[in-house]
């Protein structure tokens, strides 16, 4: 079921919220948990009931494995193998649905195999519920899981707000909430903040992301020597679409969570305002970054550094600034992590390039942090350049992100490369802009200057309508989205102390006069936004992250 559908908004959500609190009040929290699990299975099965079996199977298997895993104190021999088996089985399932058929297709296309195996339908949300459960198994093995109850576990995995596209939960932050009886007491404030956040996410998805979707769609399906302005408009349209689509989904998920009394972790915190790539990953898909750090980066880095220690090599900051030290202590863990992060998104070469680009960016960023002179040694920079400096940092970070996103989205590597070449002006500017003859007079002497320098061509009104008008619309849209993305506060900053996310965000100093409070005006506003968004439900595409 989609969040942006009438059946969800008008039927599923009201019924499940009311039934949840009625069940909790009349029959206790256990009944409410069971009800929420059933509702979550209905939510999942709405799209394709057959895959409920897969979800149930995955949960049953992982719960069974988890029971075999004990912490270090009372660990029996062979536990490592049980964990390895559990993780491998999960990855195997993911491999079957995500990589096997593209790989077989590839073998077929290069003539290694004569049989065309076709493709398989990807069960929605499979990588999200697989990831969540792998994390749980690892923590069971390390003795970190206190709550081993089956009902809380099933609820933790299936809880419908996060089931399909995250945020990727950690059992430690939500299972205690499911176990707490306070969660099942109706609090009107939770419903109000939840609905407000849900409405904000809905606006981001339906009114902002879906408006850009056709542009990005069109742009990426016809790539052939894209010129400068055209290339930028396609790239920006997709970049903004992806952000508003995915962060809108996450906002809705967090809003829905609190309607059931559960606080979910923050997933996006104005990522495009980041002044470095390291910062970007701390603000973009934050729960994936955390997951990768805990399960890939930290274990690899620990392994490398312990090896260095044993060999008598230093692990200090000074050691990391030597080439071999840097290569093993920073570049290796960073590259491996980002390579696998890229691979996770799909079986195409373009996803690998996406991962490698971010691997390079992060490594360069780390190198800069280590090798630059320490801030205290720099002569105090004049204050008046601080705005310029921060603007340059944000712009550089965003362009780097943008280039990687093109590989992320493009149908293949050569399309992506053509588009990037266009953005750097290698395919020409795409100018001149066309102007109808009788409008030339409004430009006065500039008109002559522009036409004589080839920036402006005098042409028919039809050509003007098809060439110059879209460019002007693109520019106006880009400015509007730029203001929202780079300048305005995000919804969590606006909600301030009322924010239902587990992670608190720093308030934006320029916008502290905006303080959200429950009021009649805000209620009407939320209702109005949801109503306007619902008018556009039918043009809505699926969420971009449903394919991963």
């Amino acid at each position: 079921m989609l969040f942006n559908s009438y059946v969800f908004l008008c039927v599923f959500l009201p019924i499940s919220v009311i039934a949840f609190y009625v069940a909790a009040h009349a029959f206790g929290s256990r009944a409410a948990k069971i009800l929420l699990c059933v509702a979550s299975f209905v939510f999942y099965g709405w799209w394709n009931p057959a895959f409920i079996i897969l979800l149930v199977g995955s949960i049953a298997f992982n719960y069974f494995i988890s029971l075999k895993l004990k912490g270090e104190e009372d660990r029996k021999p062979g536990q490592g193998w049980v964990l390895a088996f559990g993780v491998t089985a999960n990855l195997g399932l993911l491999f079957y649905y995500k990589y096997l058929f593209p790989l077989l297709g590839f073998f077929h296309s290069i003539g290694l195999s004569h049989f065309d195996y076709g493709s398989v339908i990807l069960p929605i949300g499979i990588s999200f519920f697989t990831f969540t459960q792998i994390g749980y198994l690892v923590d069971c093995h390390q003795g970190l899981v206190k709550d081993r109850g089956i009902l809380n576990y099933v609820l933790f995995v299936t809880f419908f707000p996060h089931l399909i596209a995250g945020p990727i939960l950690h059992h430690r932050e939500v299972m205690p909430q499911f176990a707490d009886d306070q969660t099942y007491c109706l609090k009107v404030f939770n419903l109000v903040t939840g609905l407000t956040l849900f409405a904000a996410g809905m606006v981001k998805k339906v009114l902002l992301a879906d408006t850009l979707a056709p542009w990005a769609e069109m742009g990426f399906s016809h790539i052939d020597h894209i010129t400068f302005f055209h290339a930028w408009s396609i790239a920006l349209a997709y970049s903004m679409q992806l952000y508003f689509d995915f962060s809108g989904y996450s906002d809705m998920a967090i809003g829905l969570g609190i309607m059931f009394g559960v606080r979910l972790p923050l997933n996006f915190n104005s990522p495009y305002k980041s002044a470095s790539i390291i910062e970007f990953w701390q603000r973009w898909h934050m729960t994936l970054t955390r997951y990768l750090t805990l399960l890939l980066y930290n274990p690899i880095a620990l392994w490398v550094n312990r090896r260095r220690q044993r060999a008598g090599m230093p692990v200090s900051k000074a050691a990391a600034s030597t080439l071999p030290g840097f290569a093993s202590m920073i570049a290796l863990p960073t590259f491996t992590t980002m390579f696998l992060a890229g691979l996770w998104h799909g079986a195409g070469l373009q996803y690998l390039i996406y991962g490698m680009l971010h691997g390079i960016y992060l490594t360069v960023n780390h190198a800069w942090r280590i090798l630059r002179p320490t801030p205290s040694k720099i002569k105090h920079a004049p204050e008046q350049f601080s705005l310029l400096r921060i603007t340059c940092k944000i712009a550089l970070t965003y362009v780097a992100v943008l280039v990687a996103q093109i590989y992320f989205r493009a149908n293949n590597v050569s399309d992506a490369t053509d588009l990037v070449a266009g953005m750097f002006g290698l395919n020409g500017s795409g100018l001149p802009i066309v102007i109808p003859a009788n409008n030339l007079k409004y430009l006065g002497s500039f008109g002559e200057f522009f036409t004589s320098h080839g920036l402006l061509t005098v042409g028919l009104r039809e050509i003007y309508n098809s060439v110059t008008l879209p460019l002007a619309t693109n520019l106006a849209t880009a400015v509007a989205f730029g203001v929202i993305t780079f300048w305005a506060p995000n919804i969590y900053q606006i909600l301030g102390d009322a924010s239902p996310a587990l992670t608190k965000v720093k308030p934006d100093a320029h916008w502290q006069w905006i303080v959200w409070k429950p009021s009649l005006f805000n209620a009407v506003l939320v209702g109005l936004l949801l109503f306007v968004a619902s008018i556009y439900f039918d043009r809505a595409a699926r969420f971009l992250y449903f394919q991963f």
Binding site: Y297, A301, L302, S316
Partner: protein, 83 residues
């Protein structure tokens, strides 16, 4: 070893890893307060601590540390179980 001895030795390690000889470290110091104490240096501090006290932590414990005091306590716990 006493708590103070462990804290003093851990403080030396942190100053050395972060390359900040003047840094003041107490039991309540958290990574967020110290410039340069990011996830990368966190790993380095932990590994240097392991080597210095000849103990080993598991990955999950490394992630759960909230401040220097918890690192010191973890070292003491490991040293006690070694005896």
């Amino acid at each position: 070893m006493t708590k103070d001895e462990v804290l003093s030795q851990v403080s030396d390690i942190i100053r050395d890893v972060l390359d900040q000889p003047e840094l003041q470290v107490t039991m309540d110091t958290t990574a967020d307060e110290v410039e340069g104490w990011d996830s990368f240096n966190h790993i380095n501090i932990v590994v240097a601590t392991e080597a210095s006290f000849h103990v080993k932590f598991n990955t999950a414990e490394v992630e759960e540390l909230k401040n220097v005091g918890e690192l010191v306590d973890l070292v003491l716990k490991r040293l006690a179980s070694k005896k």
